[in-house]
């Protein structure tokens, strides 16, 4: 369930973002703490007001903060754009949330029926999930694969996920939905190509 243990490119990009931001934040916090502490030391003369204003307000307040924020914002928007960019030859699946659980639908003919609470995807391939809900708001979240996106009545949202390796990944509904919220979970099973074909043709339950 940890977002720091990514198993797909989207989650990996975000984990990298986190480590960068954490490092920056620790440095800034240290800086502010030291500056605050230094104000308590004994000083011989009172500094001149205009200079203080330049240093603290223009220098630190405006200059420093805007430089840091601009860099971070550019990084964030670039990452966001990459994660929402349309992908070519993605597998398209559907997810419908409800208070009773998740229902997933697959491409192709009717041989492959819907599955409940388990989403099967091919490993190593981009999968676009179209998400909606039958009742209240839910959210589709598989922390090790990607960020979350809400399932909202009357709207269809899409999310691109991709698992690098075959395996099982825990997913949860991450928008409070009343009694039973705790147990609104699902699983994502990433299959290798052979299993995926078998799954699609209905040979695997």
């Amino acid at each position: 369930m940890s977002i720091l243990d990514p198993a797909g490119p989207a989650a990996r990009d975000i984990a990298a973002l986190w480590w960068v931001m954490l490092t920056g934040s620790v440095l800034i916090l240290a800086l502010v703490t030291v500056l605050t502490a230094l104000s308590f030391r004994k000083r011989a003369q009172v500094p001149d007001e205009a200079r203080l204003e330049r240093t603290w307000i223009l220098g630190m307040g405006l200059g420093f903060s805007m430089a840091v924020l601009a860099a971070l914002l550019a990084y964030g928007i670039a990452t966001g754009a990459r994660l929402t960019a349309p992908v070519a030859d993605a597998v398209e699946v559907t997810a419908e949330a409800s208070l009773e659980g998740w229902t997933f639908g697959y491409p192709g003919d009717a041989a492959r029926g819907q599955t409940a609470d388990v989403l099967h995807i091919p490993a190593g391939q981009d999968v676009v999930v179209s998400i909606t809900t039958r009742d209240v708001i839910h959210s589709f979240w598989v922390p090790r694969l990607a960020g979350k996106i809400d399932a909202i009545p009357g709207h269809v949202n899409t999310l691109t996920i991709r698992a690098d390796l075959p395996g099982t990944y825990q997913g949860v509904s991450a928008e409070y939905s009343g009694p039973g919220y705790l147990d609104r979970r699902f699983e994502v099973r990433a299959l290798d190509p052979a299993d995926w074909q078998a799954f699609l043709s209905g040979e695997m339950p």
């Binding site: 986190w18 307000i57 405006l62």
Partner: protein
């Protein structure tokens, strides 16, 4: 007159009634400010206990302390009480108590309104609390997202408690905001120009303006949701043309500014206390004023950052990501200005300063994680996890609780005239600080490990057990710390060890009087020439007590103060306040009956309650004014000014103007909702459009155009001392005509329960109609007042107030008719 004799005279005029009856009839800002603060801290305790229950439940996996249903009530009520019944009222209390003293005047602009606001808060709060006691508390989370909170999924009364109780409490916030705006702009000591105002007043002014523009979207949302729940108007139901996302927009249009409404006054405390603790003056006063204003506006452009996961196009969220990073800049300016102030002076590590250091460390972390979640992809991961809960507590606890504790410790000597005896406060702070960081630092990690917020328990094999236990133990340490602080403060209140006046050596006016301050604040009002008048003139308190300032000689038993020009602070008018009365509490009680009738669905009672409220309002307004001109008044220092009611813009005009700002925001939110549904909601176009009626539009708009002209004729005739009744009556006629057209619109609109379109038209029409009726009543009131001799060329304020409302109603009515008909006409 000697200082003592003057004190006795003023005390006889200004004192509240003795004994416990005085609590119900007091209109003094000092009393009401303290009542606000006491009550809000009581709710802090309640919500704190709920928090402890939450942490007890989460301490171990599969804990059976609280059932799922109870847990939902716990976190919903914890969040709701903290935000609406603790934080906002606490700042209102601080501001109500301090602002007149800091501005060198004797009370706020509308003393009875202060009392009415307090009682609305007290009754609304009691309503919320009773839901908790009955086990029927709201349980949808503090932001109450439909459809979970809609009638289908939450049929019980729980959600109604929230929607109705919170709206009731918000009346109090709106009252306080109108009052504080007018007081800060118009009720200051003479000579106090805008740049000589204590910085705290700037913070409160901006906060009050934000309340006026921030709360209306939520009030609108609550009304719409309650209409959906009670009468089936499907604003948030996707299959009937509504959209649950509309609620999220309306809620966060309020919800984000709300955070700054809570933070700004706390920052105001910091900007006031830090320089005093560092024995210097604030660095960059002008910069700080500009950054407060910037912060206020920017914070209204951020609401979508709470909706990053709702599937809004990436470009749309990118705007809000950018704006959300930008809002950190004015915050950084303030933080560095404070650090710069400490560098400029020589800070002392006294108790308020300890809390300020606690603020710095905590709030900076909260700000940094805030910037993190402003970065969209990161928010996709941590949204709705414990990371967000941790972040919001760093901001709210760091940015509000520590500063307010600093403020309480700083101003307690003023309120009590005593000094602290036992030094519990220091250990209390250490425990609180350590406990806080233990709890919430841990919760960041839990969020990263995938723990959702609002889950009532978790599996032992999730790997969260140890961290949760640490967080829970730390939270109990924090609770002990807070309890110690409370005991410390209570002891301070009851163990009287006389302290010296102005123990911190501050330069602002609130210290330049006795402590505890007398009921009239200042025996005479100072003339201000600098930002720190008390530092400049150390003899100021005794000078004022000897009556060297303005209004040192009370006339009769009038409660007097001065109104000034906004920019320069030049005295403009002499305001006379009403004295003690139980009218506010009675009117609040009747208002409570109105809300209760909605809550319990005894709708036959509702119209009676509305009529009763209106009757009280008329009585309230009737008691003001006079039937003869008093002419110029001597105010001391050889100056003469007219009475406030003999100016063009009496206090009521200013109040109306600011109330209309809030009102216009409400209307704007309604129009936004209409446009949103029309363009975004699934299930449009509606099955049936309104049929276009040229007659309705033409007559309605014609009347709306005529009304402002006619009321101006009436105003001109009043100013020329000529009979104005006919013109006023004609205005009333046009307003009635407008009302008729709006009624026709409501009756012809498609069924409101079948599609959100019809429901929206109903609300639009009713909004217009409500204003037409209100303005009609005002005009009738003015006509009667004219006939009874309350209006003259000098006393022309009431018709001027009517003009304000006529103009607004005409504009709003026109817009209602247009937005209802134009789409119908186009299709």
């Amino acid at each position: 007159m000697t200082a003592l004799k003057r004190h006795r005279r003023l005390e006889a005029i200004w004192a509240s009634e003795k004994g416990f009856r005085g609590w119900f009839s007091t209109v003094s800002h000092s009393d009401l400010g303290r009542m606000f603060l006491f009550t809000s801290f009581f709710y802090f305790g309640v919500a704190g206990i709920l928090a402890m229950l939450i942490r007890a439940q989460l301490a171990t996996p599969h804990s059976a302390w609280a059932s799922e249903e109870v847990y939902a009530q716990l976190f919903t009520m914890h969040g709701t009480i903290m935000m609406f019944l603790f934080a906002i009222p606490a700042i209102e209390g601080m501001a109500v108590y301090l602002i007149p003293k800091m501005l060198g005047t004797r009370d706020l602009a509308y003393p009875r309104l202060t009392a009415y606001g307090f009682w609305c808060y007290a009754f609304g709060g009691a309503m919320m609390l009773s839901s908790l006691a009955l086990g029927l508390a709201p349980d949808g989370g503090w932001f109450m997202y439909p459809p979970l909170s809609g009638g289908i999924h939450a049929p019980g009364i729980n959600t109604d408690f929230w929607l109705i109780g919170i709206t009731f409490v918000e009346i109090s916030a709106i009252c306080a905001a109108v009052e504080l705006c007018v007081s800060i702009l118009k009720y200051r000591a003479p000579g106090m120009s805008l740049d000589k105002m204590p910085i705290f007043a700037w913070y409160i002014l901006v906060t009050a303006l934000m309340i006026l523009t921030g709360f209306p979207p939520l009030i609108l949302g609550s009304i719409l949701l309650e209409l959906e729940r009670a009468f089936g108007l499907p604003f948030f139901q996707a299959d009937l043309g509504g959209d649950s996302l509309l609620w999220q927009h309306l809620f966060w249009l309020f919800g984000h500014p709300e955070v700054y409404i809570i933070f700004l006054p706390a920052a105001g405390i910091l900007s006031t206390v830090i320089p005093v603790m560092a024995r210097t003056t604030l660095l960059g006063y002008g910069w700080i004023v500009a950054s407060i204003v910037a912060l206020a506006f920017l914070s209204f452009g951020l609401w979508v950052h709470h909706m990053f996961t709702t599937g809004i196009p990436h470009m749309g969220v990118a705007f809000f990501s950018a704006a959300s990073t930008l809002v950190a800049v004015p915050t950084a300016v303030q933080v560095f200005a404070w650090i710069g102030t400490m560098w400029k002076g020589r800070p002392d590590l006294r108790l308020p300063m300890l809390h300020i250091l606690g603020f710095f460390f905590t709030f900076v972390i909260g700000g940094l994680t805030g910037v993190m979640v402003a970065i969209v992809p990161f928010d996709w991961q941590v949204h709705d996890t414990a990371f967000i809960t941790a972040h919001l507590h760093y901001v709210l606890f760091g940015g509000f609780v520590f500063p307010i504790l600093a403020g309480v410790y700083y101003w307690l000597p003023l309120v009590t005239g005593c000094r602290r005896f036992f030094k519990l406060g220091e250990s209390a702070f250490v425990l609180t600080f350590l406990g806080f960081h233990g709890t919430f630092l841990a919760m960041h990690v839990l969020g990263l490990l995938g723990q959702r917020r609002r889950i009532h328990t978790y599996d032992a094999d999730a790997g969260w057990t140890a961290i949760n236990l640490i967080a829970s133990i730390a939270s109990f340490i924090m609770a002990i710390g807070l309890a110690l602080a409370l005991i410390d403060i209570i002891i301070h209140l009851f163990v009287a060890v006389r302290g010296k006046r102005s123990p911190w050596g501050a330069g602002t006016l609130e210290w330049a009087t006795m402590s505890p301050p007398p009921s009239y604040n200042f025996a005479s009002l100072p003339h201000i020439t600098s930002r720190e008048p008390y530092s400049d003139t150390p003899t100021l308190p005794s000078d004022l007590a000897r009556g060297t300032g303005y209004l040192g000689d009370p006339q009769g038993d009038r409660r007097e103060t001065l109104m000034v020009d906004i920019a320069s602070g030049r005295p403009e008018a002499l305001a006379v306040y009403p004295s003690n009365t139980t009218l506010p509490i009675r009117m609040a009680a009747v208002t409570g009956v109105f809300f209760l009738s909605l809550l319990l669905k005894v709708y036959w009672l509702t119209p009676f309650a509305v009529i009763a409220v209106a009757a009280f309002a008329v009585r309230w307004a009737w008691s003001l004014g006079a039937t003869r001109d008093a002419g110029p008044q001597l105010i001391g220092r050889d100056m003469q000014v007219p009475l406030a009611i003999e100016t063009e813009k009496p206090p009521g005009w200013w109040g109306s103007a600011f109330l209309l700002v809030a009102n216009a925001t409400f209307f704007g939110s309604l129009l936004f909702g209409y446009a949103f549904l029309w363009s975004i909601a699934p299930g449009w176009p509606p099955p049936e459009w309104l049929t276009f009626s040229i007659l309705e539009v033409a007559i309605g708009i014609g009347a709306a155009l005529a009304a402002p002209v006619l009321i101006r004729v009436a105003n001109a005739r009043v100013n020329a001392s000529r009979p104005a009744t006919p013109a006023s009556a004609a205005t009333l006629g046009t307003i009635v005509l407008l009302a008729v057209c709006l009624v026709s619109l409501i009756l012809r609109a498609p069924s409101p329960t079948e599609h959100a379109y019809g429901a929206t038209l109903l609300v639009l029409g009713s909004y217009g109609l409500f204003h037409a009726v209100l303005t009609g009543i005002m005009l009738a009131f003015v006509i009667v007042r004219m006939r009874r001799g309350y209006v003259s060329a000098a006393r022309s304020g009431e018709p001027a107030i009517a003009r304000l409302w006529v103009d607004y109603t005409a504009g709003a009515g026109t817009l209602c008719l247009l937005v209802a008909h134009v789409p119908a006409w186009l299709t």
